[in-house]
Symmetry: C2
Subunit: 459 residues, 2 copies
Amino acid sequence: MQVPAAVLTHLKKSWDAHLAELQELVRIPSVSADPAYKADVARAAQWLMARLQRAGLENIKLVPTKGNPAVVADWLHAGPKAKTLLVYGHYDVQPAKKADGWKYEPFEARVADGRIWGRGTTDDKGQLYCHLLAAEAWLKTTGKLPVNLKFVFEGEEEIGSLNYGDVLTNTKGALKADLLIVSDSPMHGEGQPALTHTLRGLDYFQVDVTGPKSDLHSGTFGGILWNPNEALVHMLAQLKDPKTGRVLVPGFYDDVVPATKAERARLATVAESDAALKKQTGVDALWGETGWTSYERIGVRPTLEINGIYGGYTGEGAKTVIPAHAHAKVSCRLVADQDPKTIAKLVQKHLTSLAKPGTKVKVTVLSAGSGVRADPDHPLVKAVERALEATWGKKPVLIPEGGSIPPVADMQKRLGVVPILCGFGNRDENMHAPEESFRLSSFEKGREACARIYGELGA
Amino acid sequence: MQVPAAVLTHLKKSWDAHLAELQELVRIPSVSADPAYKADVARAAQWLMARLQRAGLENIKLVPTKGNPAVVADWLHAGPKAKTLLVYGHYDVQPAKKADGWKYEPFEARVADGRIWGRGTTDDKGQLYCHLLAAEAWLKTTGKLPVNLKFVFEGEEEIGSLNYGDVLTNTKGALKADLLIVSDSPMHGEGQPALTHTLRGLDYFQVDVTGPKSDLHSGTFGGILWNPNEALVHMLAQLKDPKTGRVLVPGFYDDVVPATKAERARLATVAESDAALKKQTGVDALWGETGWTSYERIGVRPTLEINGIYGGYTGEGAKTVIPAHAHAKVSCRLVADQDPKTIAKLVQKHLTSLAKPGTKVKVTVLSAGSGVRADPDHPLVKAVERALEATWGKKPVLIPEGGSIPPVADMQKRLGVVPILCGFGNRDENMHAPEESFRLSSFEKGREACARIYGELGA
């Protein structure tokens, strides 16, 4: 269904009000990582509920979890033949303070240079707000929506969505839908719409090596036992082959679905160049699994990283200690069809098998989340694609995402939805960093894109 | 020379006063590591100077350094043919607070269960005080000493003696002597006197690996570059062979003087058993360089340890980061004739050669100190041996020390002294730990031993 002109006109006419409202929302510092902002997190949820009410959504409520509640709302009068769309976003934000390197106060929501600047502008308040405003535009001008629409706005995405299972349990199937759209990701550069169809899964491990009963003097005892720092180093060096970049955990690759020739050819058309990746990271040489391009290594190949390591003396200067224990944080990014629980067991088994005499090794699984692999040729995804093309005048590109959004896999599994990530952000908008911003043009067009998506899904 | 009976009688008679004085000295919390105790460190030095004055020593003064001053004193009237003895000790102590696990206040100097309890009792106030009291006993009863005697009591031993070079420079050769005695080490179990004739040298390195220009998201960039944590782990794993325990730095063993058959046989007679070492360290298996016993690995073989390692996320839970940098503290214990500067260069060269593409490696030498290898058959050492045997009724054993006391090598090199370590402490007296103590019997006999050493050296 084409979007009625009245809907688009409404959006154009309301621009000043919409921008002012987004500023209002950004000014609520709903930082989920810091308990000091608890009341602000609650205020942001209340603000959204009131705004959903004004927009004409129904069944607006807070879904309790062990942590911050989710805000849900819906409009379900599109008729028995209509498709049902679930939109996921999050109203919590990363911490921010001006001293970290912000030009403006991070919760001032200053509009300047064609952008709105502030924590949460692109991640994810600006993006979720596009959906709310698009729904309102349909409801205010036509009295209805062409799809059954469900919103779920989470309050703990920035702290790992650890309680998202509670949201699914406590809504008792009420979030079931045909399609899930997540707008919490970047486009493929300014003006180039993108659909993200894969996410990597994530296993995260705490590795603890214990040795002597207390820290020892390295003079008195140096050379006669496995120093836990050294035991850890020798164990971790057996996780990845330094020549081929391949993960050495036995069985790690067994269930990996190899990328097809067609997939690799398509990836090549959207791939970031090695030069671009070097510039972004600041390294003068890239390195990874032999036989795959850098973009493929991020997009369709699993990997393993040591995220943290610590043991013994870590202060200024010298202390001659053999520590009683040493530790590491290790994580794997997984691709289809790697099962996070199976991989977790393989990693645990491999690491404990590498324990050195006189030491004990404990490997704790801190999280195990599945990857997502959506079907880019699904008719509903094609509908979204048409809406994006109509908005930007360019066919969207299909891109993989190396990161992980655990709720997406959860919803795919528990609600049976077809997931697709359709974001309006941009890589240079500093998600999680100082100077976060959201382009005004993205906010403007994002609203239009959402209105058109609802129309296309109603066709 | 036999010690005159009057000297020994004087020591016996003065026992109560001597113990009370040692308590007084221990009650001054001369903690060199904590600037809050600066005035107490100065007070301990003043207390010693006053006591040296009363004992009849001469030329008592503070030798300034960039840090805490040393206290020096001498008595040089033994005649042109007499030997000159330099005694080194330190008046500073390790930090201590009751909450760390002390039964009594650490600076209360409680006498109980045949020991004096408190920080600095065995390390090193009790031991250095034996020398002062022995000199006093000779001077008060015979009006003279059988040797020219020089004392140097340092104020920064517990923080690495980094300014000890200033003491040697600022005394302009005044500390020159034939023999250096250091009483800051354990006996070989209760009642078994010991001479320590070797110390290991120490090279200490800071290793810094830098990679990306800032911390990276391990989803977005995981798998395409050398994570500094992983680069560091793979480099450090090339420092020691996990099978043979041998240091893999090329050239590391080139100048090591191999222990002779005779030396190994003698070591075997004093060696701590593997069972004892397991008990002390709490590990259920020992490990080290193939072909050497544990005691030899500590005593006559060099080694390398990773004292600290840190990079990336080290807090609670999970953070999916690829860090911009990773670090390690690495040290080598050296034996004769390894030159610490040569070894430092070899380690630097080896580590930097292991740098991974896209990373930079910096290896900084934080300290490079020589080992000590004294001649156990030197006539002056034999004299000390006789004095110890006369005191305890047992021939002293010759033991190696795995640790390092940099001032000893400095004095050997710059003053030309023959060094020997002759300690009255005991391994179970908790140096550097809670519940430090010094046996009253060791204090009593230590005074006698010193008096006899001066006599034997005057023979």
